[in-house]
Amino acid sequence: MAKKFLSGDEAFAEGIRLARPEVISAYPITPQTIVVEKLSEMVENKSLDSAFIHVESEHSALSCAMGASAAGVRAFTATSSQGLLYMVECLYYASGGRFPIVMMNANRSTALPWNIYGDQRDSLSQLDSGWIQAYAENAQESLDLALMSYYIAENEKVSTPFMVNLDGFILTHTYEEVDIPTQEQADTFLPKYETDNKLDLDAPKNMAFSAGPEHNYIFKYKEHIGMKNSVSVIQEAEKKFSENFGRNYSGLIDAYQTKDADYIIVTLGSIAGLCRETADKLRKKGIKAGVLRIRYMRPFPAKEIAESVKYAKAIAVLEKDISFGNEGAVFTNVNSALYTEQVSVLSYNFIGGLGGRNISESDIEHIYAEIQRGTKKVNFMGIEVAE
């Protein structure tokens, strides 16, 4: 293992190099661009033996990746924001075709107004697209997810595409020290991709077909079960990862001081670090604060979330998203989990960080204060609205 000082994008590219995709097709967009540049460099200097395809759009990027996956090889693409939205048709196609493609998405605001900075509205708008969705917190986790994502997606019981989300700029462009496994180590962890779901000259197949009302629902049900099956495969992957690399991950959620917490912030991605620091400070003042970071939005950890917050007095769902006319999508998902798991806890929504707006420590302190006091159901951080 070697240590290097890398940005989230660079760390992810290192992870992809170690995963050895046979085909890479991607189109540049800030703040993802560094990933495609790095991978191109790796192909050039032969540290990565891959076909790098200069597609002319994101729709083609994912369509090409599906072609490669249908040909039976490991495929990678990466995008962000407008690019993700541009390829939406292919997202559903890839999951329906059970193509275990891995895609990195640099979480970025969506136009209009144009904005290149980070929020999570791009990927959260695609919760129903049939992709596993993981949200990384730091550069090391990004690299590790690059490796684990293929392990999980390609498991034949899962066979589901995998989107790894990195907060735009805050994670994609921030440098940290990262452990990079050797190729040998990576190869022991991640086997070569083998599948029957491929074109085969000896036993020709018709793939990506139509299925009418009498069969369609069976395919959709199986797709759902494939995604559900990923839960145990995520555990298996993390166990094997820990044995190989000595780094531990905690499955669908990452709970911090939640066991005895009265007040918990539930959130995604890189903001969790600041939430934990703030929680530590509050604990010194005698306030039992905790943080629950959702690592996977799909499959959704309903039970795990309900279990972690059931003794709390109140929770705040802090998210960089809004479903217009309703509330944040994470909030809706969390509330639904609480209701179905019959956990009764006060829950509040804090919508912040849109278009890359900074979320400061005092903002987080404010959230903890507000949920102790009781506040509006849905709060737009930084905007005071009369009730």
Binding site: I53, A71, C90, G212
Partner: protein, 295 residues
């Protein structure tokens, strides 16, 4: 050896499908696959050919075949070609069969990208001159004057007011290794072009006229005749583009009557003699250019 009706492979690769009687598109796909053989890996976007051929559990291709997104014929071919190559497989032909809409409209970007990269594939556009699968709407390859459900012929407008996009020359302008035009009416010409394309490395494009009795308003028994006549009357031409040079592969001694061709088809029923005169004029201009530059 040149392909003739006698030498054409007897095996079938596209059968049991639900295309209408007399469908020109299914004829093009069926026979092209006979030329390319069992190792053809076919990509078909949304459109009539995928709609009639891939209804689970009635799957109609004996070779490997896959439906792509409507816009994604070429990009999916690129991925398949790269993927199979990475698996060490070399004895296959990646071939796309896309409609006129899937080619000249929604799929033109992906096609342009593939040609730009010179990805190794044959892209066959079966041109029935409208979006047939959705019920005969105008595409970029619908000819001037044709009535479709989105270009109705009424008091004010007599069908489609724009000429066909010139896909053959658009593709050639990319400096593609090989491009050709064809028609299912002159089947051996088409199939020999497919055969020729299969021997060339890089991107190949073949644009084949494939009449649709349903959309054109012709008897189902007339597909082949009308597909000959479109060439004979000069509204379509058989040509190739290779190594930067255009040349015509069939020189009709004398162009037959445009009016006869038009008057046989329901989609043109509303056209006036003056409309047909305009069509003849533009044909003549095109042929003047062809004779001068492509001879």
């Amino acid at each position: 050896m040149a392909i003739t009706a006698k030498t054409l492979c007897k095996d079938e690769f596209f059968y049991g499908h639900k295309a209408c009687a007399g469908c020109g598109g299914s004829l093009a796909v069926r026979n092209a696959l006979k030329v390319l053989g069992k190792n053809a890996v076919a990509v078909l976007p949304a459109g009539c050919m995928s709609a009639v051929g891939f209804n689970f559990p009635q799957l109609c291709f004996a070779n490997n075949a896959i439906i792509s997104t409507f816009a994604g014929t070429a990009s999916m071919l690129t991925g398949i070609e790269a993927g199979l190559r990475r698996r060490g497989i070399t004895d296959f032909t990646a071939v796309g069969f896309a409609g006129d809409g899937g080619t000249a409209d929604i799929g033109i970007q992906a096609l342009s990208g593939a040609i730009d990269r010179n990805d190794n594939m044959i892209y066959i556009c079966y041109d029935n001159e409208a979006y047939m699968n959705t019920g005969i709407q105008k595409s970029g390859l619908t000819p001037f004057g044709a009535k479709t459900t989105t270009t109705p012929a009424g008091e004010n407008i007599r069908g489609n007011i724009r000429p066909k996009k010139n896909m053959f020359e658009i593709v050639a302008a990319h400096d593609i290794p090989y491009a050709a035009t064809a028609t299912v009416g002159y089947m051996t010409d088409f199939l020999n072009k497919v055969e020729k394309a299969s021997k060339i490395k890089g991107t190949k494009y073949i644009h084949v006229i494939a009449p649709c009795p349903t959309g054109w308003g012709i008897p189902v028994s007339d597909t082949v005749e009308i597909a000959k006549e479109i060439v004979d009357c000069g509204l379509w031409y058989l040509a190739e583009y290779e190594k930067g040079v255009y040349h015509i592969t069939y020189q009709p001694k004398e162009l037959t009557s445009v009016s006869d061709y038009i008057r046989k088809q329901g989609r043109f029923r509303h056209l006036t003699d003056a409309d047909i005169e305009m069509i003849i004029n533009s044909r003549n201009q095109k042929w003047e250019k062809i004779r001068k530059e492509w001879a």
